[in-house]
């Protein structure tokens, strides 16, 4: 594995990451009856709303404590308290998720102190649950904000007690379609479950006849409370660090049996999830999934000649990069570049461990931007780019086709409906990748065969 040295530039050019509060906002949007509230300038909330809306194409309300110059000097407490009152007044939420920003962190606002004051002053009935998370933008990136927020919610809400026939799963930053698939799998295993966050409906729902202040759906607070009583808990994402891992917390605090698995992309990683669920429940893997698996392998065989030895560059959230790399390797495509704007310190180790056969063929880059990715791509000349829509300028410039996965997808419709996970999600990715390579060959051919 070639671990790429970090750039020597002092500027980031076309960042391949977003900031912490975006991840936090997304998690809070996946909780039933919740409104996210960012403690900082108005712009943070508005920019993040805009960014999420362009992907999900859904109304996304994120409140802001709307710092002024005087809050910056004297502290943002009064503004936060006013914001809480107004959010409660307007939205009647059952949950408010409060995330900090670089501004409130730097001036050193003590959130707990402010909330204690608020709780003393505000005694009206029906007060929502208030959960806080520290997400300064100068640390980590949006994926850290995401995991830290899941962990904060669990730490502040989950309680213990006798175990229930329930499994908790923390899927990481996946699409709305992926969340629906995971819930289907858990249901088919006959399980009661918590998926946190669950924005499958809040961020990809149907039409409304009247405007909903808070989109229906999301993980219920009751379920989150019960998480400490799960018979098992699964954290998806191999690069999630121990101190960010909410499953690890449930294990340490409540003795819940805990697993950390990769995102189920490809046969091997999906098998691992299915087997884990079979072990947890004592049930067989449902016939439906065995059939999906069979069809997927059948497709692998049908198309293997179009893939072997092809090279792909993957970029985006570290666990999606890892999942897709493992999947590509099993169909003969070399993931020559595995790049992420995040810094997990784990991506290289995981790849080395899971794909030992490709030692020396993969360049791993963490903390990278699109300018660096372009340099790598120019050097390696892959056949495919796989990642979010922010790689489109690179694809256009280099002429290398882009398979859109992950977040954000700002230049196409249906980003929230891209299915990456499970045998079915892999099938979808597989067909797309094979067809893109066939298309490229067909277009290049002077004859233009009308058969494969």
């Amino acid at each position: 594995m070639n671990i790429r040295e970090l750039p020597t530039r002092e500027v980031t050019i076309n960042a391949c990451k977003l900031c912490n509060p975006l991840g936090a906002s997304l998690v809070f949007r996946g909780i039933e009856g919740a409104v996210p509230l960012l403690h900082g300038s108005q712009g943070c909330a508005t920019y993040i709303r805009r960014y999420l809306i362009s992907h999900f194409k859904e109304p996304i309300d994120i409140a802001s404590s709307n710092f002024s110059e005087s809050s910056t000097i004297f502290g943002g407490g009064p503004k936060l308290k006013q914001a809480l009152k107004n959010v409660i007044d307007q939205y009647q939420p059952t949950f408010i998720g409060i995330a900090t920003t670089c501004l409130s962190e730097t001036i050193g606002d003590d959130l707990q102190l402010i909330l204690d004051e608020f709780n003393r002053e505000y005694q009206a009935p029906g007060k929502p649950l208030l959960v806080t998370v520290s997400t300064p933008s100068y640390q980590g990136s949006h994926i850290d904000g995401f995991h830290d927020t899941v962990r904060a919610v669990i730490e502040q809400v989950a309680t213990g007690g006798p175990k229930k026939n329930m499994v908790s799963i923390f899927p990481g930053m996946v699409s709305a379609a992926d969340l629906r698939l995971l819930k289907e799998v858990l249901t088919d295993f006959g399980l009661d479950f918590l998926v946190l966050p669950d924005y499958s409906e809040t961020m990809d729902g149907g039409m409304w006849d009247t405007y909903q202040k808070i989109a229906p759906g999301g993980a219920s607070v009751d379920k989150i409370r019960a998480a400490g009583r799960s018979k098992a808990v699964i954290q998806l994402g191999r690069t999630v660090r121990k101190q960010q891992n909410a499953a690890e917390y449930l294990k340490e605090r409540f003795g819940v049996e805990s697993y950390q698995l990769g995102l189920p992309v490809g046969i091997r990683e999906t098998d691992r999830l299915m087997q884990t669920l079979a072990v947890i429940t004592g049930n067989d893997i449902p016939q439906k999934y065995q059939e999906e698996r069979g069809r997927l392998i059948d497709a692998y065989v049908d198309a293997h000649k179009y893939l072997f030895g092809k090279k792909a560059a993957i970029y985006g959230e570290p666990d999606l990069v890892l999942g897709i790399a493992i999947f590509l390797a099993e169909v003969g495509v070399v993931p020559v570049i595995c790049a992420t704007g995040a810094r997990t310190g784990k991506l290289g180790d995981e790849l080395r461990c899971l794909l030992p056969e490709l030692e020396g063929e993969i360049t791993v880059a963490e903390g990278i931007d699109f300018d660096d990715i372009r340099t790598l791509v120019e050097r390696v000349q892959p056949d495919l780019l796989i990642g979010n829509s922010k790689g489109y300028p690179l694809s256009r410039q280099s002429g290398i086709p882009l398979i859109r996965v992950g977040f954000p997808i700002h230049d196409r419709i249906g980003g929230q409906r891209i299915l990456h996970l499970g045998y079915r999600g892999t099938q979808h990715l597989f067909d797309q990748i094979v067809n893109e390579l066939i298309r490229a060959r067909q277009d290049r051919s002077p004859i233009g065969w009308s058969y494969m």
Binding site: K17, C19, T46, F67, Q90
Partner: protein, 462 residues
């Protein structure tokens, strides 16, 4: 729905007396304003200057959220479409980011050879106390190009204060260039950002009138043109919110008069040309202008009438950034036979709203700095068929099954100029008349479970 106590004076229904509306105040905490921040205001105004480096001094988010954010086109260099940031980390927050900023500027200037560099201050820079001014001065002296700090710390006011910071930054460029050879019939175009190539349409009209355009500020903007802008005889100000301040500064310093214009809709577009011809008081020019307006309108009016036939009597809502755009949209919709039932803006002034009130029909809701809950309520209350706004308003309209037209940064079709009016009509028509709305659940006419029931399904299942 109840309007928050602190916002009640920012909503006005025409017919209520006396006219009173609060505006130009900071958004209420927790109200989910559609506005952004000071940084946003500066960033959008300066963004289209295509041969400058735009470096965002702060954590990566502020730059990432504004990467290639506008469809502001350039006829040449495209440096503005890259996203540069010092990507401040915890270490710099503690020890200061000046050295990173200095090194970063040097590296960018060496690599891209820009004609100028803008350094945007973000919230955190305002707190950690970097002396951005000093760094810029040093780099400017070393590299021989203007390096200009933009004081756009997010918390220091509203988006409108960001416009001001941008105008102040622009004043540091204006006046640097030579003005020999500029025609006495010359203008600067202020406040058009060349979305979907709109400034090219407008420049073509002025060229045909015999008027020289010295600088587009900032649409298809170039540093050298802006440096000569003080040689123009007249400033044309569109997007009053962002550029009135620059026009005012240029009048004070260089004595250049200005004219408020709008390029949206037949009426305002024609007036934007006639106003210039009147200002220069040249009979030949006026004649050319009349011919131009006549030719342009004749070419598209019949088609427009077809759209009008379909759209007449339908209701619309407008919520845009600047109020001046709202005036034009009210008139443009009227040209299509449509009634405006709700109109508002993020940054309008008292005079703007006064004008809107005069322009609108009885019962129209006029609103300042609104939010999703209010907007969704107003569009339902007034039963509109169309909502005109920006990216954050689109899902509100769509979720309720209402047609939407993007009149903001992201539009890909030119809406300015006479041809823009036709494009606008076409887009409104395509959205309002789409057959998809038949499937939308409406509160009053409930659709039976299982989908649409029409004459075909009835005969199939008697």
């Amino acid at each position: 729905m109840k309007v928050l106590e602190g916002r009640k004076k920012q909503v006005f229904r025409k017919g209520e007396t006396p006219f009173e509306i609060d505006c130009e105040k900071q958004s209420l905490a927790g109200s989910v304003s559609q506005r952004a921040c000071v940084f946003c205001g500066s960033r959008v105004v300066l963004y289209p200057i295509a041969d400058a480096v735009h470096l965002v001094h702060g954590p990566a988010g502020c730059a990432a959220y504004t990467w290639d954010i506008r469809g502001a086109l350039s006829s040449g260099p495209e440096l503005h479409r890259l996203s540069f940031t010092t990507d401040l980390r915890e270490q710099e927050v503690i020890h200061g980011g000046e050295s990173k900023l200095y090194q970063g500027l040097i590296q960018l200037i060496d690599r891209y050879h820009p004609k100028a560099a803008f350094v945007y201050g973000t919230c955190i820079v305002g707190v950690i106390g970097d002396d951005v001014e000093a760094v810029c001065k040093k780099v400017s002296a070393l590299k021989g190009i203007p390096v200009i700090p933009v004081h756009s710390e997010g918390f220091k006011g509203t988006k409108k204060d960001g416009y001001k910071a941008a105008c102040t930054a622009l004043m540091r460029l204006i006046g640097r260039g030579r003005t020999e050879g500029i025609s006495k019939y010359s203008v600067n175009i202020l406040g058009d950002y060349n979305l979907a190539g709109e400034i090219w349409i407008i420049k073509d009209y002025y060229r045909r009138m015999g008027v020289e355009v010295v600088a587009g500020i900032t649409g298809d903007g170039r540093v050298e043109e802006i440096e000569r802008a003080h040689g123009a005889a007249l400033n044309l100000v569109q997007c009053s919110g962002s550029m009135n301040y620059l026009a005012q500064l240029m009048k004070e310093k260089y004595g250049i008069p200005s004219l408020q214009v709008s390029y949206f809709g037949f009426e305002d577009m024609a007036e934007a040309l006639y106003g210039v011809a009147r200002h220069f008081n040249d009979a030949e020019m006026m004649k050319r202008t009349q011919e131009l307006v006549r030719d342009e309108i004749q070419a598209i009016y019949p088609k427009l009438l077809e759209y009008r036939k379909a759209l007449a009597g339908k209701k619309a809502a407008i919520y845009v950034g600047g109020a001046f755009k709202a005036f034009s949209l009210v008139k443009a919709l009227r040209l299509l036979g449509m009634d405006v039932a709700v109109v508002g803006s993020q940054t309008g002034s008292k005079q703007d709203y006064q004008l809107l009130k005069e322009l609108c029909d009885e019962g129209t809701i006029i609103v300042d700095d609104s939010n999703p809950l209010e907007l969704s309520h107003f569009i339902r209350e007034k039963n509109v068929s169309l909502f005109i706004g920006g990216v954050k308003e689109r899902p509100i309209a769509y979720k309720l099954g209402i047609g939407f037209c993007d009149h903001n940064h992201e539009r890909k079709v030119a809406l300015a100029g006479f041809v823009g009016m036709l494009n606008f009509a076409e887009e409104v028509y395509q959205s309002v008349m789409s057959p998809v709305w038949q499937f939308i659940p409406r509160p009053k006419q409930s659709v039976p479970m299982g989908g649409v029931q029409d004459e075909y399904s009835r005969t199939a299942n008697p």
